[in-house]
Symmetry: C2
Subunit: 420 residues, 2 copies
């Protein structure tokens, strides 16, 4: 059943099909499994087998041995009500982000909303203004989609002149993926009845920042949902409880949390969050507004900084990829700083506007390596290098950094952020 | 944009395509949205908009308004280390089950395992016995799959002579669905090297019950995984931390938690959990052993008992369906106790051995109704009625109840469990 190992790119990258049909992989002196005990050791019972364990509970928690897996918080201006906390993506696997580790970005803290008092108003250029309580909304038709949410400021640290320290999550952790369940927004807008000159929808959140964004009507009528559930249960307060506008593929800030009103308008309302913030300053001194879509992107989550590698030999290089254009078509991985590339395996199902997990086998021989990933979507968009991004958008760019991440791996297994 | 309402089965079932392309749905006197306030009310700010909210945190929690959503625990024999707790599926949406609400079934409580001390031994009829620590296992290739897990004792309450009271979760809540990530077992078995007469694999858990089950080698080499992650994060202790054998589609008990050894054998080992328990007693007094696969099944989670309905008019009938044979092909819903049926909408993606969410619009006119769902899988298997199941398997049957659930809805909106 043994297979020949096929190298597909320089510096140890292996054929992604190596394991697809089973079959052991061996490297010189032996397999990864190390025979350190005789079979009889299976009868040496560990302490926790000698007495009954913890009982049933109404609500489970993770192991205390995992309690160090936390979001890194980054409060702004000395408050803890504004700022962000980042998903520790270097510790996660698959594509679903647990709700308690989903990144946050608040502009004036998390309102503690009583759902019995919360209302959603739809008005403006509609024939029949509507106001809903949560009980009414829960009777509407719903859909479920597994889709990503990314803050437009994600990966900003990598736009600094010197590669920042910190974990993969500290740099790229404002990305997450959830199964969102809610009401297609077009049903409610149809019910309200759009006036002829309706072109935009102003969305307002019920936080103290009264966060507002202008949404193109076309998007609102396409795949926007009023999300009530995230990963099966009600959305958490940090992500918009009891109701969040969710705009698949768009920068996270426009998926307005704690949604309280939608006002249909003829023009965008030029709110703070789309003028002084969330705009891209170009080299000519002008700013791009309304860069809604998050570009094709990928990042290797393991190996990555803070996860020191052990002995030489086999490792799996693994990461996440996503695109607002639809499905990820392929992810290429390099282990030699971009000179040679090999195609990674994508985990099924590959869903539109969702995270896709990629993996490729790698034999680490101890020579210093630079590993990188580059994603391509079904629209043909290719993830740019950092140099490309900066030469196109200028050195002032601060949002929408979807450029390629490179990790340097030293002979002793330390992983470091580098620019190539 | 208004559409004509098309009834597709008796007692108010509506065309599942009613909402697919947008378009309002109205019933006589008006829409579901009730105009109870003028647009100016949007400037009446609720209390939580008048001051900054709660700050950032390293770990999020759900709203205190949702803290009543819990698992119902059912300890056995006066202990709290043995028994079950059930997923409150009547409160969930979509298909992913949050880890803290995933059902439990323990035979001697939850061991608190230190991952640095935990080992996995593979031995028996292999050329090279292997023992792994967790660090070694984490270097192996992984795959991710969204798949269901169901206890073979799920829905047992409905085999009693009188329909039990209780919520949908109390009766059917030993079902859940997660994104499982782990190592394909065939890779490790190939590495150990199977002897010619290898036919079964004995799996043992590291709990005080030392739970053991015999797994057919064919399944172990097919789609079995050694699961390390559930919904992105490490498996919780209640579900097998740090490692669980996961056998897609098989009764939950054989997906051995806290896995510590796999012993390859020629014959099944006739353990307690496959002889005195987890067997199906037939009318002729003999027992069926090794009924691994969970049958095609569905249940309406909403409306369901304990969720009282409000005013007459539009509701969405929604539930979950699954099959160990592969994908769910269709789910039919009846609102008149099984006389007429209409096809429900299935939420994409429809995945093999996974939960599939179904939904169908319903106009409740206040006449007493009996709602039911019936699933069919891609293999052509049809979910049986309760009478069919009992006539085929006998009245002693206690496991593998995949029969159709009927809910009676009274004129005033109370929902009750009934046999039809």
């Amino acid at each position: 059943m043994k297979k020949n190992i096929e190298f597909v790119a320089a510096n140890g990258l292996l054929d992604r099909r190596s394991f697809l049909k089973g079959g052991a992989i061996t490297f010189g002196s032996g397999s990864l499994g190390l025979l350190t005990a005789s079979p009889s050791s299976a009868t040496d019972w560990p302490n926790w087998m000698t007495k009954p364990g913890t009982g049933l509970s109404e609500y489970s928690h993770r192991s205390s041995y995992e309690s160090h897996i936390l979001r890194k918080t980054a409060p702004l201006l000395g408050t803890d009500g504004s700022g962000s906390s980042r998903t520790p993506i270097q510790y996660l696997q698959g594509t679903i982000t647990p709700n308690n580790l989903h990144f946050e970005r608040h502009h004036s803290g998390i309102p503690e909303i009583d759902p019995e008092q919360h209302k959603l108003l739809i008005h403006g250029l509609v024939k029949k203004p509507l106001i809903f309580d949560m009980e009414q909304l829960h009777r509407y038709p719903m859909i479920s989609k597994i889709q990503f949410l990314e803050c437009s400021g994600n990966s900003r640290p990598n736009l600094s002149k010197i590669p920042p320290k910190g974990s993969c999550g500290d740099i790229h952790g404002m990305i997450a993926c959830s199964e969102w369940t809610g009401i297609p927004l077009n049903i409610l807008l149809d019910e309200a009845g759009l006036e002829k000159d309706a072109k935009w929808v102003l969305a307002e959140g019920a936080d103290a920042a009264s966060l507002t964004r202008s949404v193109p009507l076309e998007k609102a009528m396409d795949d926007a949902i009023l999300a009530l559930y995230q990963n099966g249960e009600k959305i958490y307060p940090a992500n918009g409880y009891p109701i969040r506008l969710f705009l698949p593929g768009y920068e996270g800030n426009i998926s307005v949390k704690w949604l309280r009103q939608l006002k249909v308008t003829q023009k965008p309302m030029m709110t703070r969050e789309e003028t002084s913030k969330y705009t891209d300053l170009m080299p000519n001194g002008k700013s791009l507004m309304f860069t809604f879509k998050m570009g094709i992107k990928s990042v290797i989550t393991s190996p990555s900084p803070s996860l020191k590698l052990g002995p030489l030999g086999y490792y799996e290089i693994s990461g996440i990829a996503w695109s607002s254009n639809g499905k990820v078509k392929s992810v290429e991985v390099s282990a030699d700083g971009g000179s040679s590339w090999a195609e990674a395996e994508l985990s099924e199902p590959i869903l539109s506007k969702s995270l896709t997990r990629f993996r490729i086998p790698w034999k680490r021989d101890g020579s210093p390596s630079i590993i990188m990933s580059r994603a391509i979507d079904e629209n043909g968009e290719v993830q740019p290098s950092r140099n490309q991004l900066i030469s196109e958008k200028g050195s002032q760019v601060s949002y929408h950094n979807n450029s390629i991440q490179a990790w340097y791996i030293s002979s002793d297994g330390e992983v470091e952020n580098v620019y190539v």
